[in-house]
C-alpha cells in the first residue's frame, strides 16, 4: 500500500500501487495536487471525480478495489483510478465459430459490460450490481432489458444471489452451482457462454445475463435442455445450413449416449439383431478378445477420457504428441494385441467425436459421464438396461427447472411454436416471437414477413 503526504495542502493519499492505473492516478490526483495551493484545495475536492465517503467500510472496499483514498482534514474522498491488470479482448477458445463475431469476454467485468453495451444501445438495458463472497467480495452484475424481461425472474435471481453466504466466488460456474435450482443434478441449469453476441441475443430474447467479475464466462437464465444444442453461428449461416447443423447435433447427442451402450447390449444379449453379413465381421473381430463386451468397452471409454483430459491439460505442442501416441495405441495396438475389437473402436471413436459436436462444453461433459451409466446398464441387462437408463434420465430431466421454469420447454410443456428455433433453425422471418419460456411481456420479436 502506498501512502503519500502533501504537507502544504494537508492532504494524505492512500492507494494500492498495483491496482491503480498509474497514468490516471497522475493525471487525476497527483498532478492537480502538486499544482494546488492550500486555499484552492477545497475547490479541487469539489470536482466530480472526488466522491465524499463517510463510511469507513466503503472506504476500505474502495481502496481494495483499486480506488485512491484522499484524506483532507476531517473528510475523506475516493477517486476512481482503478486499473487492475487484465488481458485484452481476444477470441474464445472453447466456443469458436467460423462465421460471425470473434471477440470474447475476458476476466474484467467492466470490459464485459462494455462489450454488451456496445451491442445493445438501449436505455432499457438495466444492470443490478451485487456483491458475493465474504472474503473475495466479488462483483456480480445481473443484466436484463426492461420491458422484454419477465420481472419475477430478475427478482428470483437477485434473491438467490443475495441469500448466498460463502467466503469466495472465483468463477461464474461456481456461482451457478450455488444459485441454480438443483445443485445435485448432473445437468447445467444455467447456460454459460464466453461470446458477447450470444449473451446479447439472450438479453434480447428476454433472459437475464449475469457477469461475475474475474470470470470470462457469463451465464443466462432461464434456460432449457435444448438451448445447449444451439450455437451463435446457426444464425449467421443460411437457415437450411443452420437447421442441418442443429439436427446433426441432436443426432450427435443420440450417438454419444447410445452407440457404445448399443454395441455392448447387442454383442452381449441381442446377437439376433445383427444381419448375417455384418455378423461374420463382428464375430471375427471379437473372436480374439478375452473379455465380455462391457469390460472391453469400459476400458476403451476410460482410455478416450484419459486422452481427452491429458490433451486439455498439456501445452498445445505436447498435446499433439499425446494425440498421435493415443491414436496409435488405441487405434491399432489394442486391436493387434487382441484386447479389443476394431468395431468397438469405431463405436467408441464415433461416440467421443459426437460428444464434441455439442456446442456447450459443460453440457457435453455431463453427457459424456451419463454415457458410462448407460454402458454399465447395457452390460447388465442389454437393451432393457439401456431403456431403464434412458427412462431415468427423462424422469430426472422432467423434474428439473431453471429459475422455476421447466427445463424441458418447449417439449414439456408443449410449445410447438418454439420448435422453429429449437429443433430447427427456421428462416429469421418465420421466428417472430421470443421463446415462451422467457414469458416476455413483449413477445413479438420481428414483424417482417416474407
Amino acid at each position: 500500500m502506498t501512502h503519500r503526504r502533501y504537507q502544504d495542502i494537508r492532504i494524505d493519499l492512500v492507494y494500492f500501487g498495483h491496482l491503480v492505473d498509474q497514468d490516471k492516478l497522475h493525471r487525476d490526483t497527483i498532478q492537480p495536487m502538486l499544482q494546488a495551493r492550500s486555499e484552492d484545495i477545497q475547490t479541487l475536492l469539489e470536482q466530480s471525480q472526488y466522491h465524499l465517503t463517510t463510511d469507513s467500510k466503503d472506504l476500505i472496499k474502495g481502496i481494495l478495489s483499486g480506488k485512491a483514498a484522499v484524506f483532507h482534514e476531517n473528510e475523506s474522498y475516493l477517486v476512481d483510478v482503478a486499473g487492475p491488470p487484465s488481458r485484452s479482448v481476444g477470441q474464445s477458445e472453447t466456443e469458436t465459430v467460423i462465421v460471425g463475431p470473434h471477440d470474447a469476454f475476458n476476466e474484467d467485468a467492466g470490459v464485459n459490460l462494455a462489450l454488451l453495451r456496445k451491442r445493445i444501445k438501449s436505455s432499457h438495458l438495466k444492470v443490478v450490481k451485487l456483491s458475493v463472497g465474504e472474503v473475495t467480495k466479488t462483483d456480480v452484475y445481473l443484466l436484463y432489458i426492461k420491458g422484454l424481461n419477465h420481472e419475477p425472474y430478475v427478482q428470483e435471481a437477485v434473491e438467490r444471489i443475495r441469500k448466498l453466504e460463502t467466503d469466495s466466488i472465483f468463477d461464474t460456474h461456481m456461482l451457478i452451482e450455488y444459485i441454480d435450482d438443483s445443485s445435485t443434478s448432473i445437468f447445467p441449469q444455467f447456460l454459460t457462454s464466453e461470446r458477447p453476441d450470444a449473451a446479447a441475443s439472450k438479453l434480447v430474447s428476454g433472459r437475464i445475463v449475469g457477469i461475475v467479475d474475474g470470470s470470462p464466462t457469463v451465464f443466462s437464465a432461464p434456460t432449457s435442455f435444448f438451448e445447449f444444442f444451439s450455437s451463435s453461428d446457426d444464425y449467421y449461416q443460411r437457415w437450411i445450413l443452420g437447421t442441418a447443423t442443429r439436427l446433426l447435433r441432436y443426432l450427435a447427442f443420440a450417438v454419444t449416449i447410445s452407440f457404445t451402450a448399443l454395441y455392448v447390449a447387442v454383442t452381449t444379449y441381442h446377437y439376433e439383431m445383427i444381419p448375417e453379413s455384418l455378423l461374420l465381421t463382428l464375430a471375427e473381430s471379437r473372436s480374439r478378445v478375452p473379455f465380455p463386451p462391457v469390460y472391453e468397452a469400459l476400458v476403451m471409454e476410460v482410455m478416450i477420457e484419459l486422452l481427452r483430459e491429458a490433451g486439455a491439460r498439456l501445452p498445445t505442442k505436447i498435446g499433439q504428441t499425446i494425440g498421435i501416441v493415443g491414436g496409435i495405441v488405441i487405434g491399432q495396438a489394442a486391436v493387434q494385441a487382441g484386447l479389443t475389437s476394431n468395431i468397438l473402436i469405431i463405436a467408441v471413436a464415433s461416440s467421443a467425436i459426437s460428444s464434441f459436436v455439442i456446442p456447450s462444453y459443460v453440457m457435453s461433459a455431463s453427457i459424456r459421464l451419463i454415457r458410462f451409466v448407460l454402458l454399465i446398464l447395457a452390460g447388465w441387462w442389454g437393451l432393457f438396461g439401456m431403456f431403464v437408463g434412458m427412462s431415468g434420465i427423462v424422469i430426472h430431466l422432467s423434474g428439473l427447472t431453471s429459475l422455476g421454469s421447466s427445463y424441458l420447454t418447449p417439449l414439456a410443456p408443449l410449445k410447438p411454436r418454439d420448435w422453429l428455433d429449437v429443433f430447427v433453425r427456421a428462416p429469421l422471418t418465420a421466428i417472430r416471437q421470443r421463446p415462451s419460456q422467457n414469458k416476455s411481456p413483449n413477445p413479438i420479436k420481428s414483424k417482417n414477413r416474407k
Binding site: 441381442h270 439376433e272 445383427i274 441387462w381
Partner: protein, 362 residues
C-alpha cells in the same frame, strides 16, 4: 429453491391419457380381436371407443356439476369420511395392483424374449424404483415426463409404412365378425386395453379452465383409438385371421419382420422402447393410489405413502409366477377396474344429486 407452479395444460392431459391407456395389451390386441370377433375383428375397437366415450361423458357430468372439485371432496361433502374408508381401501388396492402388475407382465415378456436366466423380480425392482422416483415428483412432472416419453414412442407408428408392400386388403375378407368366440368376453378384454382414461377424474383439481380436461381426455382416447385401429388394420391385412388366433403377441411378430440394412429382428428394441409407456401407465395408477391414500392418512407425506404402496405390491407380485398367472390377475383387476370406471362416476353423480336435493330442501 422456490419454483413457480405450472397447471396441467391441454396437451399434457391429451398425452398423459394416451400414454396411460397404452399398455402391454397392445401387443396381443390383434390376437384378442381375432379370437373373440373373428374376421374383421379390428372393427371392435370402434365399438369400445364409443362405449368409452359414453363413459367419459358421465365423468364430464361429474366435472360440470361438481364444479371441477376433487371427487374425494365431492364424496366427503355428502358421506361421513369413515363410511368411505372401505371404498378408499378398495380403490388403493386395485389401482396399486394394476399399476404394478403391468410391470410384472412387461418384464416377464422381456425375460422370455431376451433374458431367460435373469430373475424377473430383479428387473421389476429396477422399474418399480423408477416409478417410485417419478411418482414422488408429482403429477405436473409426471405429465412432463409423459410428454417426452410420448415423443420417444410415437414415431414407431410410422414403422407401419414398412408393411405397405405386404399388406393385402383381401385378407380382411368381406365378412364381419365371423368365427369368433364369446363377443361379450372379447369386448371386456378390449375394453381393458382402453383403461386409464378413468383416472382423469383424479386430475380435476390439477386442471383449470384452460386445460379443458374432458375434451383433452376425449382427444387422448381418440388418439389411442387411432393408434389401435391402424395397428389392428395392419395386423389383419398382414396376417390371416387364423394366424392371428394362434399368435401370442402379433405386434411383436410384426416388428420382427422389419429388416434394415444394418440391423434386423428389431422386436427387442421396440419392445424395450415400450418401457416408457409402461412406466407412465404404472406411475399414474400408483399416483392415483397415493392420492387416495392421502385421504386416509393426510398427515403422512406422499412419498412415504408411495413407498409403502410400492413395497406392498412388490411383495404381492411374488405370488404370480408365470406369464399366464399374471395375465389372469390382470384380467381380474381389469374387470374390476372397468367396474370402477363405470361405477365411480355414477356413484359420485348420485351423491351430487342427493347433495343438491338436500340443500334445496334445507
Amino acid at each position: 429453491m422456490r419454483t413457480m407452479k405450472e397447471a396441467l395444460s391441454y396437451a399434457h392431459v391429451v398425452i398423459l391419457i394416451y400414454m396411460v391407456q397404452t399398455g402391454v395389451t397392445v401387443f396381443s390386441l390383434p390376437q384378442i380381436e381375432a379370437q373373440y370377433f373373428g374376421t374383421n375383428g379390428w372393427l371392435s375397437v370402434l365399438f369400445v371407443f364409443a362405449a368409452v366415450s359414453v363413459n367419459i361423458f358421465f365423468m364430464a357430468l361429474v366435472y360440470r356439476i361438481g364444479n371441477g372439485k376433487s371427487i374425494f371432496d365431492l364424496m366427503e361433502q355428502v358421506l361421513p369420511k369413515w363410511t368411505l374408508i372401505p371404498l378408499y381401501g378398495f380403490l388403493i388396492g386395485v389401482w396399486s395392483m394394476i399399476g404394478l402388475m403391468i410391470v410384472k407382465e412387461y418384464v416377464l415378456i422381456f425375460q422370455m424374449m431376451a433374458f431367460p436366466t435373469t430373475d424377473p423380480m430383479l428387473l421389476k425392482l429396477v422399474v418399480d424404483l423408477l416409478i417410485l422416483y417419478l411418482v414422488t415428483k408429482g403429477i405436473y412432472n409426471i405429465g412432463k415426463a409423459a410428454s417426452v416419453f410420448f415423443w420417444l414412442n410415437v414415431w414407431m407408428l410410422f414403422l407401419l409404412f414398412f408393411f405397405f408392400g405386404d399388406f393385402d386388403w383381401s385378407r380382411m375378407t368381406t365378412f364381419v365378425f365371423q368365427g369368433g368366440e364369446d363377443r361379450k368376453e372379447g369386448f371386456i378384454a378390449i375394453a381393458s386395453a382402453f383403461l386409464g382414461y378413468e383416472l382423469c377424474m383424479l386430475l380435476f383439481p390439477y386442471a383449470d379452465r384452460k386445460t379443458k380436461i374432458i375434451r383433452a381426455t376425449l382427444m387422448g382416447n381418440g388418439l389411442l383409438t387411432f393408434s389401435y385401429l391402424t395397428l389392428s388394420i395392419v395386423a389383419f391385412g398382414f396376417f390371416s385371421v387364423q394366424q392371428l388366433k394362434e399368435m401370442m403377441f402379433p405386434l411383436l411378430d410384426l416388428m420382427a419382420y422389419i429388416v434394415l440394412p444394418f440391423v434386423e429382428r428389431l422386436e427387442n428394441f421396440f419392445y424395450g422402447l415400450f418401457l416408457f409407456s409402461i412406466i407412465v401407465t404404472s406411475t399414474v395408477y400408483l399416483w392415483a393410489a397415493t392420492e387416495t391414500s392421502k385421504r386416509l392418512f393426510p398427515r403422512i407425506a406422499s412419498k412415504y405413502l408411495s413407498f409403502v404402496l410400492v413395497a406392498f405390491q412388490y411383495a404381492v407380485s411374488f405370488l404370480p409366477d408365470t406369464l399366464d398367472e399374471v395375465k389372469n390377475w390382470l384380467e381380474l383387476f381389469g374387470q374390476i377396474e372397468i367396474g370402477i370406471a363405470i361405477g365411480l362416476p355414477l356413484f359420485v353423480l348420485i351423491l351430487l344429486i342427493v347433495h343438491k336435493a338436500t340443500r334445496r330442501g334445507n
